[in-house]
């Protein structure tokens, strides 16, 4: 179904972090941007679709005005809003928002870090663009920061802080089907496996809280009103977002899942785990019976590699890219 393409070499190896691959497709310029986090650096590659041009850039997690201080980066992700694309980088120190090519930092938000470290680590993790103008970022305390983003310029403001989760946020995802009918706009996941479903607005509204089973949910997606969640046990679970009804449970992987992605136009689902396997599935909805079917389509094994990032490169799922711990390349696969 898929075959391996030429890999993209990156300047450093990928760190073992959840969802450690960002992809932004820029159709008008026939380019795709990729981001891979290595410790305190974000490796960015801009790859032309004809495979001939690659340009690299590195972003360091450094607060402005502090010459030497750096911190470990937890995640880097693209936020595609209708008016603009941005790159959000979260670290132990705070949140940085860049223009999508990484050229200019437009916003910096510092986390409250105590003078002497407390028992709980402090960091930001979990990034999602929501609807027209919001970017949401999770915090280790369980709080979610909601930023209001203007259509251009750097006048980004913190609009709201959502305090519902009691454990560290792991991942967040917005409804990606493009459908305006879906009530739920955002799902957030935490280290206890709890899922919160939100409706966006000037004040975000909590629609549902789906309890976890004391197992970290490391990656989450929201498509056509269905939450798709990947867990440390290697399970994937599909829930109806608003009601919390469990549609399906897949014993998908033998180790901790690190990344999920959905191709919204085709309903293809990608899952990747520490067990060195990437799996492609197909989701189909039957609105009449209100059911969701999951079919397994394909496996790829990245030998001896604990995979930390896997994403489709386009909305149909025609191609996908994979990163692994200690690997200095982005591996790509295309449909045959």
């Amino acid at each position: 179904m898929y075959h391996k393409e030429k890999s993209i070499q990156i300047k450093n190896s990928a760190s073992a972090l959840y969802n450690n691959l960002g992809v932004l497709r820029i159709a008008p310029r026939r380019l795709t941007y990729f981001t891979v986090v290595h410790a305190n650096v974000v490796n960015m590659v801009s790859a032309s679709w004809d495979g001939l041009n690659y340009s690299h850039r590195q972003l360091q997690s450094k607060e402005p005005n502090v010459a030497t201080s750096t911190s470990l980066i937890m995640q880097a992700a693209f936020c595609a809003l209708p008016s603009r694309d941005l790159l959000v980088v979260t670290s132990q120190k705070g949140i940085q928002i860049y223009e999508s090519d990484g050229s200019i930092m437009v916003y910096w938000h510092a986390l409250d870090t105590p003078e002497t470290p407390t028992a709980q680590a402090v960091f930001a993790r979990g990034i999602s663009a929501v609807r027209e103008n919001y970017i949401c970022v999770g915090i280790s305390s369980g709080a979610i920061l909601v930023f209001d983003v203007p259509s251009k310029g750097s006048n980004i403001t913190l609009s709201e802080v959502l305090e519902e989760h009691k454990e560290s946020i792991t991942d967040m995802a917005a409804e990606c089907s493009g459908s305006q009918e879906c009530i739920a706009d955002l799902v957030s996941a935490d280290d206890g496996g709890n899922l919160c479903v939100w409706k966006s607005g000037e004040e975000f509204q909590l629609l549902n809280n789906i309890p976890g089973f004391d197992m970290s949910c490391s990656s989450v997606k929201l498509w056509k009103g269905t939450v798709v969640a990947g867990y440390g046990t290697g399970q994937i679970r599909l829930y109806e977002a608003v009601t919390g009804i469990l549609h399906a449970e897949v014993k998908a992987h033998a180790r901790w899942i690190y990344s999920l992605d959905i191709a919204p136009f085709s309903g293809l689902l990608l899952s990747a785990a520490e067990d060195s396997l990437v799996r492609v599935w197909h989701l189909s909805m039957t609105p009449e019976t209100n059911s969701v079917e999951v079919a397994h389509l394909h496996n790829e094994c990245v030998t001896d590699t604990q995979i930390c990032g896997a994403k489709f490169c386009d909305g149909d799922g025609y191609a996908f890219a994979v990163t692994g711990y200690d690997l200095s390349e982005i591996i790509r696969y295309t449909q045959t």
């Binding site: 028992a119 033998a254 079917e293």
Partner: protein, 387 residues
């Protein structure tokens, strides 16, 4: 990231160090070449073990480690581990310590990488503690120290969630990133490939709490299962084995963290660099926070056992003294270490002097090594057959 890494790092790295030293201390007795140079008696070995374990599991030192704090650089860790090793009558020169450190780190990286569940990091640590306890079992005072530390670890780490353990593991994996030193033992038992990467199997038992992959279950809105289908996993997995014991004593079940070195295979500590390896030898001064940590850790350790000329033993990790000197010299050229260190707050003057002296040791690369055929204190024992 995680602020809880240091205690586990020291216990596991220190444990690996003791495994290697124990193997070397025993191996040299079977080596015919060195029979003229003198032997390490059972008493000497026990003394070295007791001294090192006693320093490592010293209450004040462990209390410092248990404070929530970030994981610091390889340089800091190496300095403290050298200090711990030198709490005994044994002496390692910087080149030997570098090689020893590589071995220790690669072993721990292997264990962390293959750890089935993040929480099993504790079982790996307990395997190290159990074996350390065996090394010092004839000295009740030191056994008590080990037990006390073990209890504290159980107390501090029992309440961490799986997610927090995974964060701890991810922090360690970042710390080990890009290290691909090949270890002959690992290559021999095929846990490591010739390119330096560890082998990850797609068969065998799944971790405790995970189910064997291969099943899709679909439910209706009332929660009843309506369909079940299987899919090919690309691997051959089996049910989990029973869970290991997290108490002070018990069967840990998992084998990671047990002593991989035996007396019968002295070549097992041979290392070689993989083709493109990144080494942590940037000649930066330590960050202020790291120096403070170093100062606190040194201050909390027992006073170093200064060897008198007759009783000091130097350990070579190379075959001959000439190679030892060469390695020392070449390492000196690459590693331009601390020039000046500003010590911030010190707890006592002796610790400050110790710290400065250790820092000074690394700058002593230029000094001429001792004449190997000199006085009795220089009765050097080639410990490692080859490294």
């Amino acid at each position: 990231m995680s602020v809880r890494t240091l205690p586990l790092v020291f216990i596991n790295l220190g444990g690996e160090m003791l495994y290697i030293l124990d193997q070397r201390l025993q191996a040299q007795n079977t080596s015919e070449d060195n029979s003229e140079k003198g032997v390490w008696s059972e008493n000497d070995r026990r003394r070295v073990m007791n001294d090192i374990v006693g320093t490592m599991f010293n209450k004040a030192f462990m209390d410092e480690l248990l404070k929530p704090q970030q994981l610091y650089s390889h340089r800091t860790l190496k300095t403290v581990l050298t200090r711990i090793a030198h709490a005994s009558i044994m002496r390692l020169n910087p080149a030997s310590m570098d090689r020893l450190y590589e071995l220790m780190v690669m072993a721990f990286k292997y264990q962390v990488f293959l750890c089935p569940r993040p929480k099993d990091l504790l079982l790996i640590s307990y395997n190290h503690i159990d074996t350390i306890r065996e090394f010092v079992k004839d000295t009740p005072v030191v056994v008590n120290q080990v037990d006390e530390t073990h209890r504290k670890i159980i107390e501090v780490y029992s309440s961490l969630s799986e997610g927090e353990f995974q964060l701890l593991r991810q922090t360690l994996l970042i710390f080990f990133q890009d290290m691909h030193v090949r270890v002959s033992l690992f290559l021999k038992i095929q846990v490591q490939n010739p390119n330096g990467r560890f082998a990850l199997s797609t068969s065998g038992p799944v971790p405790h709490g995970t189910e064997v992959p291969g099943l899709i279950r679909t439910f209706d809105s009332k929660g009843r299962e309506v369909r079940r289908s299987e899919f090919p996993t690309g691997g051959s997995y089996s049910s989990p084995i029973r869970e290991g014991c997290f108490e002070l004593h018990g069967d840990r079940i998992i084998r990671l963290g047990l002593n991989m070195y035996t007396v019968n295979h002295p070549e097992e500590t041979h290392t070689s660099k993989a083709p493109s390896v990144k080494t942590d030898d940037t000649p930066n001064l330590l960050a202020k926070e790291e120096l403070n940590l170093l100062a606190r850790l040194m201050g909390s350790m027992k006073a170093e056992n200064k060897p008198k000329a007759e009783t000091g033993f130097r350990i070579n990790l190379f075959t001959t003294d000439e190679e030892e000197e060469e390695a020392g010299a070449s390492c000196g050229a690459e590693e331009s270490l601390f020039g000046v260190i500003n010590i911030q707050a010190m707890q006592d003057e002796q610790a400050a002097t110790e710290l400065a002296r250790i820092a000074g040791q690394f700058a002593e690369q230029q000094e001429q090594p001792e004449n190997p055929s000199g006085n009795k204190g220089d009765d050097l024992l080639a410990m490692m057959d080859d490294l």
